[in-house]
């Protein structure tokens, strides 16, 4: 793997009250790559990303981003350092317009937003047509695009996405994965959680499999795609 580290988790543990959601995981995300984290429901994937983003507190371990320790930092510091999370379930602000949702993505910035908005509208032309509309009235796919656009407005170095394809029609899913590739080509490092393991493994440079709070397997996307256990558990294919 490339030695140019962007994000490094070491023995990260997270508890909710008595529940050990993440039981000491180590993950490395090299700069400029797409890394994916797949695993069954309740494995602790979302918890991992929310901990990196600072909205959940780690109970032990370390999270280093470009050499800086993130544990103990507030979410707003973390966003300012260049890490943005597209949360599970989109979570666009339904009571704000599409344009306001995009603007609020750039909340930490005080520069003019015109160029950034143009860039987002270039990626998602549908958002431009609807910029005056309340985000709550968008379709699921449009909301997902808005959630991604909103995150890009913060000009992240590392973009984390939690199940961006959830509940979307196959055609839109393809669009979303194309966008992820495009974003990555522009130089943004991507850490992606997906249920859609097939798609995720295809675009990922490196992948981790998470089960009940621990990492059980890792490898390049192609390697994992070829593994029988992965095929069976995540790609819905039976062993021959």
């Amino acid at each position: 793997m490339n030695n140019d580290r962007c994000l490094t988790l070491t023995d990260l543990q997270v508890d909710y009250g008595g529940i050990h959601a993440v039981k000491g995981i180590s993950i490395e995300v090299p700069r400029g790559k797409i890394v994916t984290l797949i695993g069954s429901n309740g494995a602790g994937k979302s918890t991992t990303l929310r901990t990196i983003a600072g909205v959940v507190k780690a109970s032990a371990g370390s999270i280093e981003f470009e050499g800086t320790q993130l544990i103990g930092k507030n979410p707003d510091d973390i966003v300012s350092m260049g890490i943005t999370l597209v949360p599970e379930g989109r979570r666009v602000f339904a009571n704000l317009t599409v344009l306001e949702n995009l603007k609020i993505g750039a909340y930490i910035h005080s520069h003019k937003l015109d160029d950034d908005l143009e860039r987002i509208y270039g990626l998602f032309p549908r958002l431009k047509e609807r910029d005056w509309q309340l985000a709550g009235t968008l379709s699921g796919g449009e909301q997902q695009m808005l959630a991604v656009g909103r995150a890009l407005m913060s000009r992240p170095k590392l973009l984390m996405m939690d199940e961006p394809s959830l509940g979307l029609a196959p055609l839109i899913v393809k669009d979303i994965f194309d966008i992820i590739r495009t974003i990555n080509k522009e130089g943004i490092t991507v850490l992606l959680i997906e249920q859609n393991a097939n798609h995720a493994l295809k675009i990922a440079d490196w992948a981790y499999v998470m089960e009940t709070g621990t990492i059980t397997m890792q490898g390049s996307g192609e390697e994992l795609l070829a593994k029988d256990s992965i095929k069976e558990a995540y790609l819905g294919k039976k062993k021959q």
Partner: protein, 293 residues
């Protein structure tokens, strides 16, 4: 009833309504962002009355007003920091109980420090100036109140709809965690909300007490409750709703007094609350009640 008396009562009603509206905004804004009925809000209003009494005793009113404004805002923000913020992730009932506690604390503190005897509210000369139009006469405060209320509401609405802070307030009121993910410091936004609510409660207190002339430790209780009802009537969470609710209650109450039913003027407020909760619990302008996720 003659036209002049009608006009006179109308003016009184609108003026009382304006003061109610300003206080009601504080309830509705705090509810909007924390889903909390800030039971201490009426007592912040009462404390603003006392602050003014002591400030005017030792300095001219034009210095007293900014100072008391500052102190009231400080009180509101401090209450949030000390009594509500530590309970941010606690069940909503806990923070509600904390608010009731703060309300009693302020009332008892006022009784202890200032005794339960009513104290005279200072006369701010220019507000007390009376004016006459034909047979109609009123003090300037009566005339100013509705205009000031509408001006402040307008400014507040522009703040909420057209500024970055306002956008953040709307976002935080919808979803804390996602707001944090955008880099919004939610505690600052919540403090700003309390600051604005307390500021308006201060303005309301000047208008209200200038008319009523005395302050005592329970001065905030009934107006507080009424303004809460005004907020519910307008649809809690909605600022224009709170303003209209405030005017409806102020005018309705005054009309009953004018018609000779002054005994029922307080009952009127609560009758409205009951009717509203029975037939239209979301209020006149409220959004559908959806529980916060």
């Amino acid at each position: 009833m003659s036209g002049i008396t009608l006009l006179q009562h109308g003016l009184t009603g609108i003026s009382l309504g304006g003061a109610y509206a300003l206080i009601a905004i504080g309830y509705t804004m705090v509810y909007g962002i924390l889903r909390l009925i800030n039971f201490a809000h009426g007592d912040i209003f009462m404390m603003a009355g006392y602050f003014m009494i002591f400030a005017v005793a030792s300095m001219p009113w034009y210095l007293a007003i900014p100072l008391v404004m500052f102190l009231t805002v400080l009180l509101g923000v401090t209450i949030e920091r000390v009594a509500y913020k530590p309970l941010r992730s606690a069940p909503r009932m806990s923070i509600m109980i904390s608010a009731i506690g703060v309300s009693y604390l302020l009332q008892n503190l006022a009784t202890y420090l200032f005794t339960a005897l009513p104290r005279g509210y200072p006369e701010i000369p220019f507000l007390k100036k009376s004016f006459h139009v034909g047979e109609l006469s009123a003090s300037l405060v009566t005339l100013i109140t509705p205009f000031l209320t509408i001006l402040l509401t307008f400014l507040l609405m522009s703040l909420i709809n057209h500024t970055k802070l306002g956008m953040a307030m709307r976002a935080v009121s919808k979803d804390y965690e996602t707001s944090q993910l955008m880099g919004i410091k939610i505690n600052r936004v919540i403090s700003a909300t309390f600051a604005i609510g307390s500021l308006l409660a201060f303005v309301g207190s000047v208008l209200y007490f200038t008319d009523r002339m005395t302050v005592f430790p329970f001065s905030g209780t009934l107006p507080g409750l009424k303004c809460f009802v005004a907020a519910v009537l307008g649809g809690i969470g909605s600022i224009p709703g709170a303003v209209i609710g405030g005017f409806i209650l102020g005018i309705g109450e005054t009309a009953l007094v004018a018609l000779g039913y002054s005994t029922f003027s307080d009952a009127f407020t609560f009758a409205i609350l009951i009717v509203m909760l029975l037939f239209r619990p979301t209020g006149l302008f409220g959004e559908k009640v959806t529980d916060k996720v």
